[in-house]
Subunit: 483 residues, 4 copies
Amino acid sequence: MNIPTSALSMPDAKEKCGLFGIFGDPAAVDKCFLGMHALQHRGQESAGMAVTDGEMIQGYTGMGLVGEVFDKDRLQKLTQCGQTAIGHVRYSTSGASHAGNAQPLLVEYSRGQVAVAHNGNLVNASLLRREYEEHGHIFQGTSDTEVIIHLLAKPTHVDKPDPLKHVLNHLQGSYCLLFLFPDRIEAVRDPYGIRPLCIGQLENGAYVVASETCALDIVDATLVREVEPGEIVTINADGISSRFFDGPNSVKPAHCIFEHVYFSDPSSMIFGENVHQVRAELGRQLAREAPADADVVIPVPNCARCAAGGFSEESGIPYDRGFTVSHYAGRSFIEPSQPMRDLAVKMKLNVIREVVKDKRLAVIEDSIVRGTTTKGKMGALRRAGAKEIHLRIASPPIRFPCYYGIDFPSHDELIANDKSVDEIRDYLEVDSLAYISLEGMLSCVKKENDNYCTACWSGNYRIPVDHQVSKFSLERYQMKMFD
Amino acid sequence: MNIPTSALSMPDAKEKCGLFGIFGDPAAVDKCFLGMHALQHRGQESAGMAVTDGEMIQGYTGMGLVGEVFDKDRLQKLTQCGQTAIGHVRYSTSGASHAGNAQPLLVEYSRGQVAVAHNGNLVNASLLRREYEEHGHIFQGTSDTEVIIHLLAKPTHVDKPDPLKHVLNHLQGSYCLLFLFPDRIEAVRDPYGIRPLCIGQLENGAYVVASETCALDIVDATLVREVEPGEIVTINADGISSRFFDGPNSVKPAHCIFEHVYFSDPSSMIFGENVHQVRAELGRQLAREAPADADVVIPVPNCARCAAGGFSEESGIPYDRGFTVSHYAGRSFIEPSQPMRDLAVKMKLNVIREVVKDKRLAVIEDSIVRGTTTKGKMGALRRAGAKEIHLRIASPPIRFPCYYGIDFPSHDELIANDKSVDEIRDYLEVDSLAYISLEGMLSCVKKENDNYCTACWSGNYRIPVDHQVSKFSLERYQMKMFD
Amino acid sequence: MNIPTSALSMPDAKEKCGLFGIFGDPAAVDKCFLGMHALQHRGQESAGMAVTDGEMIQGYTGMGLVGEVFDKDRLQKLTQCGQTAIGHVRYSTSGASHAGNAQPLLVEYSRGQVAVAHNGNLVNASLLRREYEEHGHIFQGTSDTEVIIHLLAKPTHVDKPDPLKHVLNHLQGSYCLLFLFPDRIEAVRDPYGIRPLCIGQLENGAYVVASETCALDIVDATLVREVEPGEIVTINADGISSRFFDGPNSVKPAHCIFEHVYFSDPSSMIFGENVHQVRAELGRQLAREAPADADVVIPVPNCARCAAGGFSEESGIPYDRGFTVSHYAGRSFIEPSQPMRDLAVKMKLNVIREVVKDKRLAVIEDSIVRGTTTKGKMGALRRAGAKEIHLRIASPPIRFPCYYGIDFPSHDELIANDKSVDEIRDYLEVDSLAYISLEGMLSCVKKENDNYCTACWSGNYRIPVDHQVSKFSLERYQMKMFD
Amino acid sequence: MNIPTSALSMPDAKEKCGLFGIFGDPAAVDKCFLGMHALQHRGQESAGMAVTDGEMIQGYTGMGLVGEVFDKDRLQKLTQCGQTAIGHVRYSTSGASHAGNAQPLLVEYSRGQVAVAHNGNLVNASLLRREYEEHGHIFQGTSDTEVIIHLLAKPTHVDKPDPLKHVLNHLQGSYCLLFLFPDRIEAVRDPYGIRPLCIGQLENGAYVVASETCALDIVDATLVREVEPGEIVTINADGISSRFFDGPNSVKPAHCIFEHVYFSDPSSMIFGENVHQVRAELGRQLAREAPADADVVIPVPNCARCAAGGFSEESGIPYDRGFTVSHYAGRSFIEPSQPMRDLAVKMKLNVIREVVKDKRLAVIEDSIVRGTTTKGKMGALRRAGAKEIHLRIASPPIRFPCYYGIDFPSHDELIANDKSVDEIRDYLEVDSLAYISLEGMLSCVKKENDNYCTACWSGNYRIPVDHQVSKFSLERYQMKMFD
C-alpha cells in the first residue's frame, strides 16, 4: 500500500492542476520550475513544461513531483530551449493517472506547433470527442485537453480572424488554459471564472501567469490583476493585451468556493480575497453558528488551522495544537503483515496527548468527504484521552458531485449523500457535530452570493451538465496502464 | 560520450523495428516478451506491448531494452490484461528518439480502440500528414505510424466493407504492420515485400507473427509461411485467414537485401532463405571475385563471421579469430579527460595479437557506411603487427540513401558517396580493398534479381520517392526532447 | 544545488539519529519501519534495520528516507528474517554522509554477531580509536560506533561476567545505544542521560524501545518508562530486566535541553515532560521577559509554533499564521541560472501578505544558529509590508559548540559567537530582538536546573572534552566519497 | 527469475575478480575504468575503484557492471581525487553477493590508509580470522581480503622493516593483490603464481598492472612482463622496483590451467602464452585424441569457438556456426507464467537450423560443470534436426572442487563427480561424448607439466587444504542481505 501525501492530507478530494507561464525571461525555465513548485499542492501526479525560443517548442513531462521530474540536468537543457515557458502540475489519482495524460500537451497541426495546459473540466468533452471521432480524428489520451486542440486545428477555425475565440465558444465547463505558441502565450479563463488565474509582472518587466498568487511570490513577481472571466490575455513581445471571447460579464461568475475552503494556498489571493483570511472568517462564522462548550480549540492539520484560529478568536476558547504532522508520509510504503488500526492517519498525524487528555475539544475540520480518515483522527483523539469531542466543519455537507474539476469520490461514497448530520456524528463517534450553513459560508466571502458556485453543497449547477455523460466519461478506456 | 552497443557493433546503419504478435495464448504476454527479446537486434531504443482480452486494449511502452522496459512486475500486470498481444522494438538513434514515438501506438477512434506497430518507412507520410493537418487533424509524435491511424479513422474509410484495404492502398513505401483490434490481429506486408514478416504456430495451436523466424524459435513455434507481399493476414478466434489488398503479385517484390547482409539474425529464414547461408555464399562469391594473397582470413565481428567462413572455405585460406568482442560495451559510459585513440572500437573489440602479427590478413567486413569505425579496426590490426591487410567487403559500396526504413547517415557521410574504392582504400590505410559486385551479390540469393531492392547500392528506387521530401521530414519539430 | 528539507526547515543544527527496537513480534519489521518513520525528523540521511530470528542477524541499510530505503519488497524479505529488530535513522550532512556510515553496524566478532545503533557522540572516540589502531585494529568507517564494537570484542572484555558493563565504562560522551544480539536487545543510556530513550509495551506484550514516545504511539505501544541514565535494559524472551553499569544516579543528569527547544517531536514525552508544553511555556516566559508592542504574534514554522502559542497566550496579542509552508521543498533541485534572492527560504515558506501588511509583528523563532535563513525570513516579512518586526527567540544565544551529538556549524559560523544581541538585530534588520534568558529557559522545565546540559549556551561542559580533539576528529579521511 | 549473462554464458563456474592499477597518470581514473571494462568478463557483480593524490585515498564501490557503477559524473569526481588508482571487478553469485564485499576494501589503520583489491582465495582465511577474532578484532564482511588487512595492521608487523613480506608469508592459497598506499601501489602474486598478473607501461611512461594483458591493450600499454610468483612489485614515483617475499622460485608454479580453458580473454597473454592459441591447440589435440565422424564442426559459443577452429583444422571437417548468440540476455527478466523448456538457453542462444539439419555434428564445448545447460543446448540441436551429435570437450572431466578461486558448484553438483563418461553421454542424450585427456591438455601448454595446477581434474592439490574448512567458510553469516 502506497500512501501518498495526498491521500493522507487531503479530505478525499483532488483537484486538477496548476498552471504557470512566463514570457521572455532569460531564467524563464528556472522561474517556471519555481512557480510550479509553489503550485505543487494543486497536483502531485505529474509535471510538465513546454519551452519556446520563438521558433520551435520543445517540452518534457514526467510522473512525480516537480522536483523529481525536473532535475538540474533537465532544467539546464530546457533553459537552452528558450526564454518563454508554460508549466503544469497534475493531480494524483489511481484511475487515469498515466504519463500519456501529463501536460502540457504538445502537438503539431496545420498552423505549426502548439502546447496546451489546462486546469478545469469540460462538461461537453465527450460530446465533442465523439463528434470529432466521427470526423475521423483519433485520440491518444483521455484528458479533455486533447479535445481543445482538435477544436483549434479545425479547418473552419484556423482561417477565422481570431480562431481561439471560436474554439473557446465551443467549450462548456470550467477551464483555465494556457496556450503556448512559438511567439506568444494565450491565457484564458472560462466565462464563469470557476478556477483562479492571475497575471503578475517581474521587476525586469516580464509577465507571468499563474493559477495562484503564491506562484507569483516565489519568483518575486507583483500581482497585476486576475484574468477576467471570459477573457483571453495575450502575452508576447509587445507586452500584454486583452480581448473577450464571450463579451465581458456575459454571465454571472461562478467562482469555486472550495478553492477558498480547501484547495488554494492560504497565502494566495483568489477571487479578490486572501484565502487565509476567508478561512479565518469561516472559523469565526462557524463559532457564531455552532458554538461548542469546550476547553480548547484544535485544528485538524493542515488545512483547518486558519479556520480554527478564527473559531478560537470568536469563541474565546484557547487555540492549541492537538496533532503533530509528519513531513515524510508521502514517501512511505508499507503493507503491514498484520492489519494496523488507522495506519494511514498515523503515518501522517500524531496526537499531542497532553493537550487533549481530559479536555473537552472543539475540533475544527475544513470539510468531510468520505468520512473514513476523519473517523480515524477522531478515534486517535479519543484514545489519547479526550473527554468530549465537538467537531465543527468549516463548509457545509458535500452532497453532490462536482463536474467542474474537483475529483470527489463517486456520489455514493460521499458520506453526506445519504446520511444526516446526526448519523454522521454517530458514525464518527463524536459528542457533537455541526457544519457551517451555506448562507453562513457565503457571508464569509466578499462578492455577492450569486457570484459563486455552490453545486457540491446545493446541487445548483450553474453550467448545465448532461447527466448521461459522467464526469470522466472520456476514460472509456485506459490508454496506457502503468507508470 | 555514451557508447551504445549499436554504435559499436553496427556499421552505422540502423533499421527500424521488429514486430511480434500472438493471439489467444494464456502465456501471450510472456511469449511476446520472448519474441521481442529475440528481435532485440532490430531495435534497442524502446520497447512496447499492447494486450487485449477481447474487449479492452491496454499497453505499455518505455525507453530501453525489452528486459529493462518489462520487468517481472509489469509482465504480471500485463498478463492479467489478456491473451492476445502485439509487441514492438524500436531502433536507437540520437535524433528523434523519444518516448512519444515508442510503439505500439494505442489510440481511440470512432470504431473503438486500435494499437498499431510498424516496421518500415512510408515515403508519402509527409504528404499524407500535411493533407490531414489541412483537414484539422493534430499530430502528437513524429513517426509515420501516426499517419496510418489517421487514415484508418477516416470517415470515408470506416464505412467501407474492408476499411483496412483502403487504408493500405494509400500507403507508399515499406511497411510491415501489426494492427491489434480487441478481437483480432491484422498482419500486413507492403506489396513489394520490402521487410520480412512471417507466421508461426505454437503446439497449442495459437498463431504468432514475427519479423524474423528467430522469434518463432524462442517460443517453440513452427514456421507456417511468410506473409505475402500485399497480403493482410487476420488472426482471430477462427484461426488465420488471408486477403490481398493490392491483388497478389501486383508488383514484383523488392526485398531488402540488406536484411541478409546485415540486419537479420543469422538463424532466421528471410525471403525464403537462411541468412547465415546467404552470408556464407556472399563470402564464397567475394573470394571468387576478389581473391587475396593472405595467410589467414579474419572476420570483423560479429556480422561478418558468416561471410568470412565462406571466404575461407572458397579460398582455402585458414579462418581464424583476429578480434575478441566485449559483451559489456553497451553499458559503458566514458568521456575521457584526454582524447583516446579509437576508443569506441576499443571498448568493443580487442585484437588477438598472436593471430595477426606478421601475417598477411584477408579481413572480411559486411559493409562500410561512414568508414570511421572500419578505419579504427584496421588501425588496431596494423598496430598489432599485421604485415598486410586485404579488406574484402561482402556487399557493394553504399552510395545512396535508403527511403524504405534503413537509417543510414546522410548522403554526404556515406564514404562511397564521393570516394572511389582506391580513395577509400587509402583512407582506411589498407593494402588492398575490394567489394563484392552487385551482380555477384545478387547471384548469392535465390530469387530472380529483379525481386530485390538494391537502391542503396544502385540508386534504382523501385518505389518513387519525392526527393523534395526528405527521409525524416516528419521530424520538422521534435515533440519531446529528452528521455 | 540540492536543497534538502533539513536545510530549509532546520535552524542549521542537525542531530544524530533516532533509535527503535522491538523484540518478539510477528510484525516486528513493519513496526520497526513505522517507529523509524515516526523518528524521521531525527535524521533523514540514511536508514537501516537489523533483524534476527534468534540465530542469525541480517540487515539492510541505505541512503535516504525510511520510506525510500525500505520498500514493500525489502520489508517482506526482512520480515522473513525474524521477529526482533532494531532500526536507526541518521542525520543528513554534506560532510561524512555516506553509505559506509549508515547504521545499525553489523559485525562478527569472537562471540558471534552483533548489530549496534547509536544516538549521540563520544568525546573519547578518537583516543580509543588511536589506541585500537596501535593494537592492530582496522577501521572501515568514521562513525564512533565502530569504536564501541572494538571495545565489545576486546578479549579481556568478552570473558568478563558482564562484558557490556566494561565496554560502557570506557565510553565518554553522550550515547543511547541499542545492541542487537541473536537472543536479545540491550538498550543503554549514558550516565548523564543526555539523549532520550524510552521503553514501551504493545498490547500483545512485546516490548519496544525508542528515542521518543512519538514512535511508541505509531505502533500503539504504551509508555512504560524511560531508560534511566547509566542503565542497561535487556529485552529478551523473559521480558525486560535492568542493571546499572555505573551505579544508579552516579552523576547528576545532563539532559540536552535542545531536545525540548528544537529536536524532538512536540507530541513526545522527553525527560519526563511533553515537548509541546515545554515549548509553550518557553513562549510564555519569553513574553514575560521580553514583551513586544505588537499587533500580532507570528511563528516561524514549523518549530516555533508551540512557543508562539504561549507567547500569544501570555501577552494577549492575537496569534496568526504569517507563513505558509511547502511540504514538497525537500524534493526540489534547482541551481538557478541567475542568482535569486533567498531562494532556499522561498522554496519552503511563503508569507501571507494580508496577515503581516502594515502590522507590528512579534515574530517567534526557536533559535538562531547562523542567522542567514532567519535574515531571509525577516526580509520576506518586511517585503510583504510588515511595519515593525520584533523578533523573539525561545532559547538563549548559541555561543559554544556541542560535543554531545548536535552537529552545529563550526564555532566561527555561530552568529552569537562574536556578535552582541544588538549586532545580530542590526544584521537581521529587525526593529527589536530579544532572546529568552538561560535562567528563564531553565524555569520552563520541571527538573532542577543542574539536571540539564546548557553547554551550547553557557559553555559549561558537564563531561570534560579534550579540546585538542575536535568533534568530528574521526573523519581524518573520508572513507568513501559519494553516495 | 533473473537470468544474468553469467548464468547463461558460463559453464556454471565463476571466478573471482579482475585487478587493474595505474600510477601517476592524469587520466588515471579514465584508464582504470577502461582497464576494468576490459576485465569485465572476470566479474560482473560489483566494481570499485580507489584513488589517491599522494596524501588521501578516496574510493567508490557499487553493485553492477563497471559502466553502471561509474558514470560520467563519478569518473569526473574521482579524477579530481588523484592520478593513481586501483580498480577491481568482482564475480556475480547469488550467495554472498552484496555491497559490503565489494572491493577495493579501504580502511584506516595505525599507519594511515590503505586500499586492497584481491583476486584469488585464501585457504587459511578462516583460521586466520578466528585467530584475529580471538584477539578482539571485528569483521564487517565475509571476504578473505579483510583478513589480509588485519594481518597488515598487526603491531608486530607494522614495525618490521618490510611489513608486507611478513603479511604475505602468513597467507596460504591463491592471491594476486594490489595494495594502494598514498604514495605507491604494491602488486603481489602468490608463490605458486596461480592467477595471472602482468605489468605494462604507457607511452607517457606511467606503469600499469592488470590481471590480463587485454586490459593493457585497451589503454595502449605495452606488456613489460608478468609479476613473478612470490614477487612484490612496487610502483611509485621512482618507477618500478621488485623484491621477493618468499625467495624467487621457492616452489614450483601451479598456474591455473582453467584460465586458459575458460576464464581469460582469448586475446590475453597468460602464463607466457596466448589464450586463443592454447585453446586452438586444445581443439587440435582433442581432434587427435577423439576424432568424430562428422559433417561439420560446431562450437558452443562463445568460449569454445577457438577450440572448434583447431578441431576443424586438425580433422579437416569444415567449421560452421550452429548457434547465434543474443547480446542482450543479461538484461532480461522473466518468470514465465507457464514453464518453458530450456528458457535460459533460449534467451541466450538460437540454433541455425539450416546448418545442423540432417547433419552429423562434432560439437565442441570447453567444459561441462553441472551439465544442465549443456543438455539444453544439445536438445536444441537435436530438435533442429541434427542427425548425430558427437560432443567433444576441450578439458577433462571436472571431478574436484577448486579451493584457489574458482567458484564451482558444490562437489555433488559436478556431473563428473559421480557419473562416468558414458553415463554423462546418456544424460546429455548425445551420440558420442569424449573429453580431452589430462595429459593431452597439458601437452597443449608450453611449460613443464608440473608448472600447472590440475586439482579440479586430478584432485592433486598443490597447496594443502584443511578440508574441514570449506571453501566459503567465512560466510557463516551473511552480513548484509539484499543489494
